[in-house]
Structures are given as C-alpha cells and as structure tokens.
C-alpha cells in the first residue's frame, strides 16, 4: 500500500459455485484489481447470514459485498432468492445504522464472468474511496 493513498478494506461473501468461480476466472484472465478485497467463501449465497454482514461492518469493513449465482442458476435451486430477501432487509439496516448505501452491495456473478467480477471490485473500491473509511470502523483498526 502506498503511504499517501488509503486503501479500503472490503469483505466479499462469495458462493462456492458462481461468484467464487468468477473471482477465479478474473485471476486466470489476469484482470488487475485493487487489493482491497477479502473473500470469504461459503457454499451458497443463501448461507450468508445478515449477522455475518453486520459483524463485518462492526469489525471494520469499509464495504461488504454479497455475491452469488444469477437468479435461476443457484446450485441449490433458490438459495440466491433467499439471499436477496435477506439483502433487502440488510439494506434497511445499513441505512438505519447511518451507513451510505454504497457500502453494502449485492451482485450476481457467474463463474465465467471474470471481467465482471474485476470491474465490480474496481467500481466498489473507487466508490468507497470517495466515501472514506466506514463510520462504524472501530478506532485503531485497519
């Protein structure tokens, strides 16, 4: 990290079948990205608990990404529908916590969409850089 440029820390929950594969494909395609992302692999986006997301914010995440297979493509039939429902609830929570909406983002990325994955990381990182560190970030965390 260069001294003068602040690099946000973004936690991304990725499902094993699609979005994690998308991150892999981005790697295979050598699509360069900011080093802001920390991926946590789960089997299904339906496994992403609102509590995991809120925890990430409380621990110091500047943004949290919820990602999974495209609707209709869930490896477990409809886990991503459930993820979307929970995401809607989280959106509300995030607003109430006083966080900017850009800090929580949902995206469906298939295993073949490496470029999309990389662009997503670039976009979110740029947005969060504009916003600065999360107001929920505890003192002394990076």
């Amino acid at each position: 990290m260069t001294d003068n440029e602040w690099e946000p820390k973004i936690v991304a929950f990725c499902c094993n079948w699609c979005s994690y594969g998308g991150a892999d494909t981005a790697g295979m395609g050598r699509f360069q990205q900011p080093s802001s992302l920390r991926i946590i692999r789960v089997m299904c986006s339906g496994r992403i608990d609102p509590m995991h997301v809120l925890n990430a914010f409380l621990e110091g995440a500047d943004a949290v990404l919820v990602t999974g297979c495209h609707i209709g493509d869930c490896h477990y039939v409809n886990g991503n529908y459930k993820a979307e429902v929970r995401y809607r609830f989280l959106e509300e929570m995030v607003r109430e916590l006083g966080l900017e909406p850009e800090r929580l983002q949902l995206n469906w990325i298939s295993a073949s969409e490496g470029e999309k994955f990389a662009n997503f990381v670039r976009d979110v990182t740029a947005q969060v850089k504009q916003l600065g560190p999360s107001p929920l970030k505890p003192e002394g965390v990076n």
């Binding site: 936690v11 790697g27 990205q33 339906g46 992403i48 490896h75 073949s112």
Partner: protein, 667 residues
Amino acid sequence: MAQEESITETEEFIETEEASDPRIGVFVCECGVNIGGVVNCRAVADYAATLPGVVHSTVNKYTCSDAGQSEIKQAIMEYDLNRVLVASCTPKTHESIFRACVEEGGLNPYLFEFVNIREHCSWIHMQDKESATMKASELVRMGISRARLLEPLQSTEVPVTNRALVIGAGVAGMQAALDIADMGYKVYLVEKNPSIGGKMAQLDKTFPTNDCSICILGPKMVEVSRNRNIELMTYSEVEEVNGYVGNFKAKVRHKPRFVDITTCTGCGLCVQKCPIEVPDFEFNEGIGTRKAIYVPFPQAVPLRAVVDRSVCIDCGACSKACESHSINMEQEETFSDLEVGVIVVTTGYDVYNPEPTHDFGYGLYDNVITGMELERLLNASGPTMGKLVRPSDVRPPKRIGFIQCVGSRDKKRNRYCSGFCCMYALKDAQLIREKYPDSEVYIMYMDIRAPFRNYEEFYDRARDMGIKFIRGKPGRVTEDKDSNITVRVEDTLTNNIYNLELDLLVLSVGAVASESSERVRQLLKVSRAADGFMMEAHPKLKPVDTTLDGIFIGGVTQGPKDIPYSVSQGSACAARATRYLAQGKASTEGITVDVDRDTCVGCGICVPMCPFQALSMTDGKLEIIKALCKGCGTCAVACPTGALQQDHFKNNQILAQVRSAFIFEGE
C-alpha cells in the same frame, strides 16, 4: 465451546478435535513464479509462523507436486499437526487433492484449510508486489483463524443405481449411450424429436472425407435401437430431476405421437392419404413439405409415423389407410419415472438464425440461404433429390457465394468461433463444384480455420478445385429484379472492391446454445459459460465433467465442435460416468447441517427453507435426512436460535475469518 451432538442414530460418532489445542502446519506455495514471482512467499510463511496455533510454516516451490505432498505428510508426523493450511491456488481444482493428501498423512480431510493466493492475489496484483504480499499474509491469517476451529467430518458413502440417463440423441448422445450400454449398464436415451440422429442426420456429406453422412450415421442409429441395454425414449423430454450422484430420479414426459409405436410399421400408407401438406421445418429446414402425418425422414429410427395435431383436420384418411390400425387420435401424453446413477447431457445446439436481424439480406431476399438449408438442397434424399436450385425460380444457380462467420466472431452477435463453419463451407463448395463443374464458387472469409488431421489438406483441395477465396467481410448485399444477389466486398489482401453478382448466396451460420438445451441446463443446475453453452468443470482437465457429481456434458451442448470431436466427447462422458456405475458407490459431501437439540425450540422455520426436503418436523422434533442434505447452509441462516449449524461453515468459523480480516493496533 459446546460440542455438537450427533443427530441421527446411524451417524458415526466423530471425535471432535480439541479446538483449544490446534497444531497448524502452514505451507505457502510459490507455484513456480505464478505466486512466487509476485508474492514474497518467505515473508508470508514467516508471518504465519508468528500466529497462534501455528507450529510449522514453510514455503514450497509446488505444494501439489509429489514432493510437496510428501512434505505435508511428513510434517504431520514430525510436528504432530492436527490442522493443515495450504496457501496456493483455487480450492475448485486442488481442494480434493490436498484433502486426500492430509488423509493419507493420517488426518481427517476436513481438517484442511485452503487459502487462494494465486487467482485471488498474485495474478490480480501483479503490478504491486508489496500489496500482494500484504494481502497474501492477511488471507493466510484469516485462514489460520478458521483452521483453528475446523472439525473433522465424515462423508457418507451412498450406493449408486447402476443405470444411466442420456439426454439428447444426436451423434454425441448416441455414442455415449452405446459405450455405456456396451460396458454392461442399462441406459435410458431420451430424445425430444420423433427420431434420433440429431443434426448429423440432416447433413449431406461430412468433411474431411466427404462420405455420406446418413450412410455412416444410419447404421449407428440402428445399432442404438437394437442394443438391448438401451431403452430408447423418442419424442420425450425430461421434466424434472431430483436427487444426487448415484441416486437421481427423473421424470420423463412422452409426447403423444397419435400412432402406436409398437404396431406401426413405418410403411407410409397413411402419409400418402393425408390431404394436409405443410412446409417441413423439422427436418428439411422449411424447403420441402410434409403431411400432417409423417415419418420424419427415410432413415428415421424408430421408423414410425407421427401426427402433427396442430395442422391435422381429423379427416380420418390416415386411420382408414393404416392396415395395422396404429393410429389413435385419443392418445395422451404419458410419464415415466426413472431412477439412475449418472446423467449425460448431449442436447446439442441450434444453428444461428439470421432472420430477425436480416443479416446479409436473409429473410428479405429469396436467394440468400443458410448452410443448413444448403445441406438439405444437396442431399440426395432431400426435398429436391439433391438437385441444387435457387429458391426464387427453382433454377440451378451458376454463381454461388458463401459468407463465413455469420453469427460468429462478431461482437454484436456471438464472440466465439463456431469451429465447423469454415469446414462445412469448404465441403459444400467442393460438392457444388463436383456436381456442377461449370459453376463459379466464391468463399468470402475473415480467416479460414482448418486444424486437425486432413483439414488443411481439405482446404488445399478446395483451392485446387478452383473455388475462389476473397478475404473480407461483405459490407452490402442487394437484390436485383431477377432476384440475383450483389455482394459488395473488399478483398483486404489486394484492396480491390468487388461487386460480386451471384445467383445464390449461402450464409455459413454458426452454432448457438438452444432453448431446449437451456431448459435441461436449468433443470440440472449445470453452470452456463459466457457463450451460453454448458460449462465444464475444468477447461483442460475435466472437459466433460460438470461441477455436479455424476452429471456430464458432451458434444455441442458443451460448445461448438465438429462430429469427430463430438463423438470423442460422447465416449469421454461414457467413460467418466461409468466410473461411478462400476464402483457401485459414491461418496457424498461430508458438509451437512447439524441441529443442537438443546437449543432447538421446534419452531420449524427452517423446514420450508430446504429445497431438498431434507428437514421435517415430527412431534416438535427436527429430523434431518443427511443423504438429502446438500450442505448449502440456507436453513442455518433461518434458524432464529442458532440451533442449526452448517458443518465446516459454522458461524464461529465464518466469523473468525471476518474478524481476522482486520488488524487491531497493538495486536
């Protein structure tokens, strides 16, 4: 931390490794220069050594190599490791390898943790070695905090039903079915059309030998129908698939033919008497006609009639004509429930349709046709008995042009190369020159692609036969009052601009993923690649596997390819699939859910969450059928008391990872 209780009587009790005494071995892989060239692996390993629970930390050149794996096994013994963490490439390809390795080293395979510092680190931060090294260290730190909490799991072995389902009976599916059947297993071969054979049955000749397509395919089709291990289900579609490797249940819908397939002899008397004639889109690309009752084509298997009720006027002429009383207009659709161990998908493709966008005047001008239409026009048993005529006036064309890459290699249509269009244009151009030596044939192309044995020679042969090649993609196509076509094209090799006058223009259309394939793909949850075709598990090492155990894809359903390649993939699918059938058993995922009975209040909120009906509630008690649980973990999120936990992705394991993504000053 409270120990999880095992929940079903049958489940073996697994001793839980004391999370309080983790002895973690860390292996950081350089992957040659793939990782080592960007990430300072030594620094990462040194950092890991300082973290709680780590008793051994080292760097390997290639951790997955034989030497690397031996080193892991040795370290397990030497340092009495009870957790192993490898920081290297993606778990998608290497997790199973390392799990097997630690198991050989004497550890439960689920006490292995994988950190991806190649795809997710060195390859995407090539320009910034410092950040890459820092990120790799942090990813390893996250992995270690999770590794400390990992628990041993047991995967269950399930018996495999020794039958296979093959969906789609083109040349790839036929080959897969024959190979599986010849290995001694029963195969259900489901085909949506009234006859098997697929696209190859429609072709005239096949490159690069120009042998008659149906002459080599026909006997194979008969072989399929005669094979005692193959149960052919034509005019049928798979409607529903449930279960998992070894134990799939499929519902197949048999569409009514309105003809008794067991007594019909395919004599065609009914067809002669039927008064209704409509264009034959199913087999002849709309060029010829067929009756309301028809036999799909002369070599169809099964050679049986079928009634198209959408145009039938119920006059009864066919019933009167049929000597075997096979016609039954009351016939209804029926269903079969199949139980199979493995599934092979070979549902093929559609040819690109230039009609909606009127590419090069297709759909506007009569004398612009597709390559598939040309195949039917050249075919001796086609609608014109093999006589090449132009649609506008049924006269033999003298000047014929081909435009390559229609629908393919085009950012506005499909980016990919369809692989076979160059070759079939070379073939059809040769066939035309052979049949009509005084014809002029032009091929307008961007590149000619002719890899594989005898393909380049085939191209040379086309040149020797006087076929003219123009390198350039035409800009404008117009029609004159005699329905002649003028193609304006610049030869980019000579910079000459031609206004080429033609009697017939053929568009070499490529392959696109078909709608019926897409339905099957969604039914089975096979991944979709960017080009719309089905995606293999690994582009090089698992070309016909999918990420789903027991489901395989071959032929054009996996991506455009020619007949030899489709046939090879059909055989490959058979070989991959029969591994399960021959073993008679498969191991299912060890990752399932467990319920803590003390915390569960029996609210039942989790039950409808599971899409696989693995959960049920009896007398306020939650039952989990482990064999049905696929381990997605969706139910665990819904549980309001936290009683349901997904093994290997327990809340504490995920949250440990979340927490250690951040550093606190002074830590």
